[in-house]
Symmetry: C2
Subunit: 118 residues, 2 copies
DNA sequence: ATCGTTCATCGTCGATATACGATGAACAGA
DNA sequence: TCTGTTCATCGTATATCGACGATGAACGAT
């Protein structure tokens, strides 16, 4: 999430830039946020308090994690009275899945082409 | 990368625990490390200095990034004279790809079943 | 109007990430 | 043996993360 070298190469197999990718990956790279995603995907919707009850974390902490997921675009939110309705953005999840899969599979494939074992 | 709530649920569609997953994701969640992976996958092998020449980073910084990728199991290394031979572990990349894809696709699918838009 | 609930934000604290330069070990070659 | 190269590690500085409690805003219910 910081300064990056400029590389004069095509951004590889039709996927995002490293910065966009790493932003999404960072949002995913925390056990609590993975659990939140899983939980969110299993219910129609839920509010912050629901998540607090699931995870053994303070409400403010959960709110922070939700904000990170929100800013990464993996989750959407709409105020609902005194609650906040959270739900996963399935399109965003699929897009990220494709981007990550594209990156990793392309790297693995290219590596296998080169073949030479270490 | 820290304390996590205990959740009394199956770990979801046949993939790793959140901790294992997030460890791999964290290694991937940095633009420089993504670039290193891409670069590594495009050559038979390379040494630390090669990567330093690609990225605009100090040698010590690159060495750190390589260590992170190494400890996450995404990259392998073997000493080669005064160099260090680095190469991607394509099996590990594919495994991570499947795990991430499994997680995200399962979440997206479950969310779409529930259907209710926010 | 008042009370209780829900939530986002602020301030704080400790741990960790990220970057760098400096240093020393390991090695190849002269 | 001496020199230059390569690399990992150490030490350091700064920024950010991840956790918490406290606070105040927004809202529903009485």
């Amino acid at each position: 999430m910081n300064s990056l070298a400029k590389i004069s190469e095509p951004p590889a197999s039709g996927c995002c830039t490293p910065d966009v990718l790493s932003r999404g990956l960072f949002a995913l790279a925390h056990p609590a946020r993975i659990e939140i995603l899983r939980y969110l995907s299993g219910v129609d919707y839920c509010c912050c308090k629901d998540v607090v009850c699931r995870l053994q974390l303070a409400q403010s902490t959960v709110s922070q994690h939700l904000k990170i997921l929100l800013e990464a675009g993996l989750v959407r939110m709409s105020p609902q009275g005194q609650r906040s309705r959270y739900a996963v953005d399935s399109k965003a999840l699929l897009a990220l899945s494709e981007a990550v899969g594209g990156l990793l599979n392309a790297c693995a494939a290219r590596a296998d082409e080169n073949g030479r074992e270490i």
